[in-house]
Amino acid sequence: MRNSNILLVDSCKADFENVKKAFNEIDVKFTLHVAQNDTEAWLMLQGDNKISPIPKIVLIDINEESVNGINLLNKIRIHPDLKSILVFVITRTDNERNKAAALNLNIAGYMHKPDDSKKMTDFFSILNDYWNIIEFSSEKK
């Protein structure tokens, strides 16, 4: 995928530093953008700081207090320009309610966040392999 973007919504600074590091190590072709909360994320998707082109993939850390992930997901799913985005939810807690809500909103995957940097790299390596075997549309939406 050329010139494609990924948006990571994560309030934990240490975590997204780890994600960045993992992306570099496994040479992910996507450009990584980070939002610290859902408001910031929304601005990057549909507001003043809009990322162009619109990210094909959004990663949301849903258990963070400051990130109202389900709300963001809801907004993405009902927006005509955003609803086809592939959303992955990454979480550290087992919250069945969040999980059910996210699955109902047709996320591509509900996943446990790895604890350390090494596991993080493995995690994204698998995820990246997956991203590489799936097709994205080249057309504008």
Binding site: R2, N3, P53, S138, E139, K140
Partner: protein, 773 residues
């Protein structure tokens, strides 16, 4: 002697008598002394100085007779004036002429009479000096002579009296003359004082005689004219007999009047006799005349008018200044003017001018003419003239008077207007010839339609003029469309567009129309001119073309759809065959080498078929999907492609430094370059393959070149290589679908560019393509 005789010169005599003004005058002692002396000398009691007029005898002086007059027919004197000598009647009773005369028969009982005629210097016998007695008697010679001498004395008295009267009369007349004269008369003495002034003098100046007489005349001269006046007067002292000059005098009322003087000195006294005339009005009139002449000249000059007068008797031609100006002549003497005039008239106009002139001379009708003036420098003027003949008492034309006007400017302007009108007319006929033209008023009522309009609408002119243009309108045009047209033109703007109309037979026709509103002074349209061309055929052609294009598009779509479906349907079994072959090999580990080699070949063919199908799909997809443009750094993109398709060993690649960054459908351009570069790699036959990517910026296009040092492509294949499924080498030799260049060409042409090959066999190939900027 007959009774009551009359002298031969009686009429003149009576006239002469009258001039003496003696009849009925008062007694004068001079005459009385003479009658007394006569009575004494002749010894008669009665003596008379009697004068005879037409009817009576009147005594100027009498001695011894109370009666002063008697009728002529009874008069004795009437006989005395008939002769030169003394007339004597000695005894009246014995004279048949008087015997019965009452003066004889009755009182005073005359018996004797002797009368000497009073003969004046002119020989007229005015009357007589007579002596009378009541006794008959005879005068002695001496007495007779004395009587004659006394008669002469009476005539002298009469003459002297007459002269006196004449003198008084002429004095009186002269006085009157001076006093009644309207000219100012005065006598000034040597010291320059007024001595006498006449009534006119006082009347004109408003002073009384008293205020003038005894005053120096210089007191009354306008100060500015004093020097001039004194200088003139001085001339007289130098011996000039008369001087004439003008100066201004001050009136009592303060006004100044201009006087013209003639003055002469009396050589004896040195007194100045002066006659002056008030010429104030004349001067003013003269000035006015000069001014009005000047005005006339100027007016003529401004109006480019001239006037003329021709005297047929004297052949004198007179022109006004204006006339000269028009002809650009200096003033000429009358005898030269006529020829000069004729020479300057344009030769082509001379004949006609002579003709109208001849007409005026023979019929006496007014003269109307026009001609051109041809100047020596070749320039010309247009002139129009009118003239009126003068006729004598017999009705013969003796002269003509008239005016001319220079109408060059007007004529040229008219000619220009005519030219323009012709031009406009030409344009109009050209327009009528080529276009459909209609004019409507502001309400849309036809006021003009041309032949083309009638032809296309199938109405006659008569059917259209006065009709609303709705007659040709159709329901095809929407209300919005019609409102748009109306609003545009009603606001004074030109409307252009295509419109469908309906002909009389109900058929429709299309017009490409331009409607031009014509505006009145208020900026509101008062008429609309519509100029159109019939585009029905083009419209139909366009429609057909559109239909054909739509059909073609539909066909193409169907074809693409077909290719898509077929490809998918082909792909599935193909993949199944491939999978099955793989499983067979997998499931039979002990397969003989020949069999497994065949399986390899089988899979190779399956791969080729897959490639072909993918190629067809890709080809059919071009133009079907819309791809977003993005800013693309071509140098970067080419490097990525090269990394991907060019082996590291055996190739030298160069990318031009001027490779630009452009806004484009990146994926498509990537496809193009990938195909071209991978072709260069695939077919290269040199130990070191060289590939160059070049760029040139053309005015409207980007031009890219992919150049290699490969085997080259013979010219006969330059076209063919772009055709679908065309390969130059056998597919077994070089694995190729033959669709790559077709895709390249389709992409480039879809984007409005073009691609060509520059190649000589064995000398490499250059693919040169362009994309619009």
């Amino acid at each position: 002697m007959k009774i009551n005789p009359k002298p031969e010169n009686e009429i003149e005599r009576l006239k002469a008598l009258e001039e003496y003004l003696i009849m009925d005058s008062l007694p004068e002692k001079e005459y009385d002394s003479i009658t007394q002396l006569a009575s004494y000398i002749c010894g008669t009691p009665i003596a008379l100085v009697s004068l005879i007029d037409e009817r009576r005898q009147w005594s100027k002086s009498s001695v011894g007779l109370g009666v002063a007059e008697t009728t002529r027919d009874l008069s004795f004197c009437q006989y005395a004036i008939m002769g030169e000598d003394v007339y004597e009647v000695n005894n009246a009773l014995e004279n048949e002429l008087f015997a019965k005369n009452p003066l004889v028969t009755g009182n005073p009982n005359i018996r004797f009479y002797a009368g000497a005629p009073l003969k004046d210097a002119n020989g007229f016998n005015l009357g007589s000096l007579c002596v009378i007695d009541t006794e008959s008697r005879i005068l002695s010679i001496e007495q007779k002579n004395a009587l004659k001498l006394l008669a002469n004395q009476v005539v002298l008295l009469l003459d002297s009296r007459k002269k006196n009267a004449d003198l008084l009369k002429s004095q009186k007349e002269f006085q009157n003359f001076i006093e009644l004269s309207k000219d100012l008369g005065c006598i000034a003495n040597v010291d320059g004082f007024f001595y006498k002034v006449n009534s006119a003098f006082t009347d004109v100046l408003g002073y009384t005689k008293k205020e003038l007489e005894g005053k120096p005349f210089i007191d009354f001269v306008h100060p500015d004219d004093l020097d001039k006046t004194l200088k003139e007067v001085e001339k007289l002292s130098k011996g000039e007999k008369t001087i004439s000059f003008e100066n201004r005098y001050r009136c009592k009322n303060g006004e100044c009047i201009l006087l013209s003087w003639n003055a002469s000195p009396d050589p004896d006294t040195g007194n100045l006799y002066c006659i002056g005339r008030d010429i104030t009005k004349e001067k003013k009139a003269e000035l006015n005349l000069i001014n009005s002449n000047k005005l006339l000249d100027e007016s003529q000059s401004i109006a480019k008018i001239g006037s003329w007068k021709f005297d047929l008797i004297t052949n004198d031609l007179i022109w006004s200044k204006g006339h000269y100006q028009i002809f650009d002549f200096e003033e000429l003497p009358s005898d030269q003017l006529f020829n000069a005039y004729r020479n300057r008239i344009h030769p082509d106009d001379l004949l006609n001018l002579d003709k109208v002139l001849e007409n005026t001379l023979t019929t006496g009708a007014d003269l109307h003419y026009n001609h051109r003036i041809l100047f020596p420098d070749g320039s010309s003027k247009y002139v129009v003239g009118i003239g009126k003949p003068h006729k004598n008492g017999k009705g013969e034309v003796v002269g003509i008077q008239g005016t001319i006007q220079d109408i060059t400017d007007k004529t040229l302007a008219e000619q220009k207007i005519q030219e323009k009108a012709k031009e406009i007319n030409d344009i109009k006929s050209a327009l009528d010839e080529s276009a459909i033209v209609a004019i409507t008023d502001q309400k849309g009522i036809f006021s003009y339609v041309n032949e083309n309009f009638c032809a296309v609408s199938k109405y006659s002119k008569e059917e259209l003029i006065g009709q609303d243009q709705q007659i040709i309108s159709t329901g095809y045009n929407s209300i919005e469309f019609r409102r748009d047209v109306f609003v545009t033109i009603a606001n004074g703007n030109i409307w252009k567009g295509e419109v469908m109309n309906k002909a009389k037979d109900g058929s429709y026709y299309w017009e490409s129309a331009t409607i031009v509103p014509f505006l009145n002074e208020k900026g509101k349209p008062y008429q609309y001119v519509a100029i159109s061309s019939n585009i029905t055929k083009q419209k139909l052609a366009q429609e057909n073309l559109n239909n054909a294009l739509a059909n073609l598009e539909k066909k193409n779509k169907e074809l693409d759809q077909y290719a898509y479906i077929v490809s998918h349907d082909l792909k599935a079994p193909l993949r199944a065959i491939n999978n099955l072959s793989e499983w067979i090999v997998e499931d039979m580990p002990e397969m003989p080498d020949a069999v497994s080699a065949n399986f390899e070949l089988l899979r190779g063919r399956i791969q080729r078929m897959e490639n072909l199908i993918n190629g067809v799909l890709e080809y059919s997809r071009i133009g079907r999907t819309e791809i977003e443009k993005e800013t693309t750094d071509l140098k970067k993109m080419l490097n990525q492609i090269i990394d991907f398709v060019v082996p590291i060993e055996g190739f030298e690649i160069s990318i031009a430094d001027n490779m630009p960054i452009i806004e484009t459908e990146k994926i498509l351009l990537q496809q193009v370059f990938s195909n071209l570069i991978s072709n260069s790699v695939k077919y290269n036959d040199k130990p070191i393959g060289k590939i160059e990517c070049l760029y040139e910026s053309l005015p409207d296009f980007h031009q890219f070149t992919v150049k290699d040092n490969g085997p080259g492509i013979a010219e006969e294949y330059h076209k063919k290589v772009f055709e679908v499924f065309q390969t130059i080498e056998a597919r077994d030799k070089k694995e190729s679908t033959g669709i790559g260049l077709s895709i390249v060409k389709k992409i480039i042409e879809e984007k409005g560019g073009s691609i060509s090959i520059e190649s000589e066999n064995d000398n490499g190939t250059s693919f040169v393509f362009t994309l619009p900027k």
